[in-house]
Amino acid sequence: MELLMFYGFGLLALFAGVAMILSRQPVTSALLMILNMFCLSALYALLDAHLIAVLQLLVYAGAIMVLVLFVIMLLNLREKKGIITKHQASLQVVGVAAFGFFVMTVVSRLNTAALPKSKAASAGFGTVEAVGRILFTDYVLPFEIASVLLLAAIVGAVMLAKSKV
């Protein structure tokens, strides 16, 4: 059952990702990306990481993608004709095929390689309490760096977007 759900959500996530890139309509792309995020959050839930799954839904699929949709609608983007010519397209096919072959080789080798034994998840793994505990003990430094990182990102975004300095 779990395996079935994994494959189902995994394939759906892949489909949504590829379709998002291929779609020419920005709104369709954004909606497909929401679908992708949703599938990812389902995968997190399958991994017992419930907090991450909920956060993924709330923050990414919810807040950020709604913002993206708003921006797309406010900008009122038109469909644009692609500038890819025939010649480049054939090159792309060759490139994708070569890369695909490479990835297939690596993946098939990895499939036959023995995986290290996974440790059983500790009791309460993935809950808010467990994540919070670890954030304020072992991971307190990365936690703080993340706050500085977000501040730098905000300053940068405002800097680039502000009309007059």
Binding site: R109, Y139, A153
Partner: protein, 481 residues
């Protein structure tokens, strides 16, 4: 259940705290200054860097802090000083340029400081978490800085290109980290190394992960074949930002490579040696050959910075203590000379960076002889001509490689430096033997730029004449990890 908070070692991260704190202070002074008196911002930034430098110097005994996330050792300390020095020089170079280009605001210096904090965290990272967050802090600030000249299309292009390709490269890095974590169950370098040395069943996952990690880091250090973004981004970004990008971040990534290499991946020494050697040879050769044919000085310096990363990677491939120390000294010297060269280029390029061609240096010897002599000293050092520091730095790296038995790698490096001499000397030829095409008022260096150039020339000559003292310092720094 009560939480036992682990000891918080504030002194270890004091430099990062100081730099980030002063960055926040800059965001506030910018509000009060209302766009006037940009030099105040530069002064605040310099004070912040000095405070951080002071904290870095009195860091104390080598130790591991924050549950093994952060290594406060001599190696960290040495690289922190390099970063702070580099950022200080960039601030000095920026003052006049930013005033002319109307971008002298607090946010610029704040972003410089944020990315410096990121670099320091990278050099100190002994866990993939800290490493990744430090790298992101550095990168995000750099993406914005590359696009800081917002009215110039080239700058916009640089920022966008850097952002897209950088995001792609970080994907590789993260996937590699996930592979390594999956194979070993550890995110700290020491744990990865222990686990990897133990079992062979996870070896393939480790190798794939390590290759991806190397790809991501190679992108950041602009190693060939991950260098395609470099010329365009370096050319488009404002000159002080290019100076910054070409020095500090490279040193930071090399520090990470040294640490990852030394602490966790040494179990597959042979594989790394081959990969790193191939990367080093390609990086040196492509960088130098491409630099030969450039007519734009900014682009040429971009390619020359690629080749310098290649020389440093020769030392990395040798991977003895001695080699690591020589790489550290190399990055120190490279930071000093490269930023000053870009400072002079910013001056010669004049307003709006309209004159960045090599031939725009023509007649500089007559119009501003002091500047021409400074430039000559700096490019001689870049080319590796004694008695400048560039020669000694290269010499020690190559000597360490010879001792490690990497003769063909050393041969490639020597041949490449011979190629390098040709295009570096083109600056001198233009300055001393060419007539300028048009009459322009002579360029005049601002006091801040004079200080920056003087500092780096003193550094270049000092390290060039008494290199052993600095090498010993770096050697002591390396021993502690």
């Amino acid at each position: 259940m009560p939480i036992t908070i682990p000891p918080i070692d504030l002194l270890a991260v004091a430099p990062e705290i100081a730099v980030s704190g002063f960055a926040c202070l800059l965001l506030m002074t910018a509000v009060f200054l209302k766009g006037k008196g940009g030099w105040v911002n530069a002064c605040v930034a310099l004070v912040g860097l000095a405070v951080a430098g002071w904290f870095a110097l009195c860091q104390g005994a080598p130790r591991s802090a924050y549950s093994g996330m952060y290594a406060a050792d001599g190696f960290t300390q040495f690289f922190k000083i390099i970063f702070l020095l580099g950022t200080g020089l960039v601030v000095l170079v920026s003052v006049k340029y930013n005033e002319e280009e109307n971008m002298n605001n607090g946010e610029y210096y704040a972003l410089l400081l944020f990315s410096t904090a990121g670099m320091m965290l990278m050099a100190a990272a002994s866990d993939m978490m800290t490493l990744f967050l430090g790298l992101e802090l550095l990168s995000i600030s750099l993406y914005v800085l590359a696009g800081y000249a917002r009215n110039r299309p080239g700058s916009n292009e640089a920022a966008l290109k850097y952002f897209l390709l950088g995001g792609f490269a970080v994907g590789f890095l993260l996937y590699g980290m996930a592979m390594i974590y999956g194979a070993t169950g550890h995110t700290d370098f020491a744990g990865i190394g222990r686990e990897a040395a133990r079992g062979a069943d996870n070896r393939l996952y480790l190798v794939v992960g390590a290759v991806m990690l190397l790809t991501g880091l190679g992108f950041k250090v602009a190693a060939v074949p991950f260098h395609q973004w470099t010329p365009d981004v370096y050319e488009g970004a404002p000159i002080p930002v290019t100076a910054f990008m070409s020095a500090g971040p490279k040193a930071a990534v090399l520090a990470v490579m040294i640490r990852v290499y030394a602490q966790s991946v040494s179990f597959m020494h042979v594989d790394w040696l081959v990969w790193l050697s191939v990367l080093a040879v390609m990086t040196m050769t492509v960088g130098n050959v491409a630099a030969l044919v450039q007519s734009d000085a900014k682009r040429m310096l971009a390619f020359s910075s690629i080749s310098h990363a290649g020389y440093a990677m020769v030392g990395l491939a040798a991977a003895t203590r001695e080699a690591v120390a020589s790489v550290a000294v190399y990055m120190l010297v490279y930071t000093l000379m490269n930023i000053a060269v870009f400072g002079i280029l910013a001056l010669v390029a004049r307003k709006n960076e309209q004159r960045t061609k090599m031939r725009d240096f023509a007649g500089l010897a007559r119009s501003n002889p002091v500047l021409a002599v400074s430039m000559t000293i700096l490019v001689f050092s870049l080319a590796g001509i004694p008695p400048m520091a560039g020669f000694m730095a290269k010499f020690y790296v190559l000597m360490a490689a010879v001792k490690a038995g990497l003769y063909w790698l050393v041969l490639a490096a020597v041949l490449n430096s011979a190629v390098g001499i040709y295009y570096y000397l083109r600056f001198t030829v233009h300055m001393y033997m060419d007539e300028p095409e048009e009459k322009l008022p002579p360029v005049k260096a601002s006091p801040a730029l004079v200080v920056a150039i003087a500092l780096s020339i003193i550094g270049v000559l000092l390290i060039g004449v008494v290199p052993s003292a600095y090498l010993e310092m770096a050697g002591r720094a390396v021993v502690s990890f």
